[in-house]
Amino acid sequence: MEILEEGVGELIGWHDPDENRGWVQRNKSRELRDKRMTIGEAVSTFVHDGDFIASGGFGHVRVSMVGVYEIIRQGRQGLTMAGKTAVHDADLLIAAGCVERIEVAYAFGHELRGLSPASRRMVESGQCKVAAEISNAGYQWRFLAAMMGLPFIPSRNLLGSDTLKHSSARVVADPWTGKPICLLPACYPDVALIHVPRCDKYGDAQMDGILIEDFELARAARRVILTTEEIISEERIRSEPWRTVIPYFLVDAVVEAPYGSHPCQMPYRYYFDEEHIRSWLQRSKTVEGAEAFLLEYVHGVEDFAAYLEKVGGSKKLHELKLVEELHPAEGV
């Protein structure tokens, strides 16, 4: 297979499909067992220094912030991060010094809210390294290749661009048309943190609204930490099996964490906490500001419940629920 072009980006999270099949066979139990644990246990068991981690959701939507805070709290080092429309999650992790490298589809920004002062500072000073570039669909399909147990998946994006030059993709001639086609290497994160509205204690999880990349990501990642707004009964899961997006045997830890996406949005449940995000963007303009913020909201609180109290408690959370539900009071 003649390679017409080859990106110089680092090949992150790739495994020989045979090697990964062996890993799956040895490490992913098909046993229906109770996987409930605290976020502390989940992170200490499944997230190690140097791991390659990916966060579910998209931008500030449906993100396991409870998992992100815990990784910072436990002081993980040398992580590689999937910058798949990574915004608040990546920004905090990078600011906290947990992240050594990042593969970037989208990072260092908060969409409409502007660029991220903290993570830009880290990347522009070389404290966080960009290991490779990719696009959103590129990441999506790298996860698809991994989910399918393939070494690569073809695509027609990236071609002709510097994004391809700095990616880990390769270009070959399609044997049918003869035209150049991009091959995206599979991407198996070591751990994915995915926040869902509900699941049972085994990890059978439902989602509301768009799935974004999480169907494929949950199947691509070697370990899945599921944080959930609520744990529901196995009977409820089994009464609507077509709603299960992630079946239990893909899941390694189940952590009940209401409001676990805060300050990000949880569709149909609560809206972005713009005030909190704005505060971070403001305070993280200096190293000291970022550190003080992390001290205040992560290191300085006992657990996630204490964090929720600190950001405004039930009053604030109720307001975010009203905004999400389009109540007239809206106008944050």
Binding site: D18, W23, V24, Q25, R30, L32, G149, R238, P241, P247
Partner: protein
Amino acid sequence: METGLDYSPTVLLACIAARLLEDKKSVFVGTGLPMIAAMLAQRTHAPGLLIIFEAGGIGPRIPVLPISVGDSRTFYQANAASSMHDVMSLSQAGYLDYGFLGAAQIDRYGNINTTVIGPYHAPVVRLPGSGGANDLGSFCHRTIVIMRQDQRKFVERVEYVTTPGYLSGPGARERAGLPAGSGPYRVITQLGVYGFDEATRQIELLSLHPGVTLQQVQEASAMDIRSAGDLATSAPPTAEEMAILKEIDPTGLILE
């Protein structure tokens, strides 16, 4: 076949197939005997066996014997009612431990034909083709074949390789690009149970069913078959197994 025993041959096959399945592992099943075997295993030694169907059913509580692989009984109160893309992908990615296959013909290396008897372009019998068999036989870590054995079916070389066994011998699957370490694990017929020699990848007789002789096996094979050093006799169905099978298939749809 008249065995003179108090169980039918298919009951024995179901029991033997069930016993091969391990608890807390996954199995890719089709309809018929494999489904019965998987259900029996769940109700005996393997309550944690995860049953998956190629059309998308994952972990159902099978209420009554399904007739089709896409039948709503295959996703009744399931962990997930998903899609073929999902379960075939999971399978290709290594999440499926066991897979069951049928065969019109099998050969020394466990290659299977379910496509055609006679010349490809002028078939004597045109069979249904691969269906999901090639996929299961390529992806599952261990494939179990259940079939009737006779001289037309147990052959030196199948006329057509619908589903790959060990192809031409040791290393051939890997050289062809098939997933490492996968391949045929057992063949269960009305006469005995066969495995595949680790070194030669050739079929070998592991056990004879009660009342069956080596000569019967040879007479029902158009290939020479080695016997394993410690040739065993298949354990007959227990009373418990037979009672459960009666519950699973009360009308004898499959078991007779």
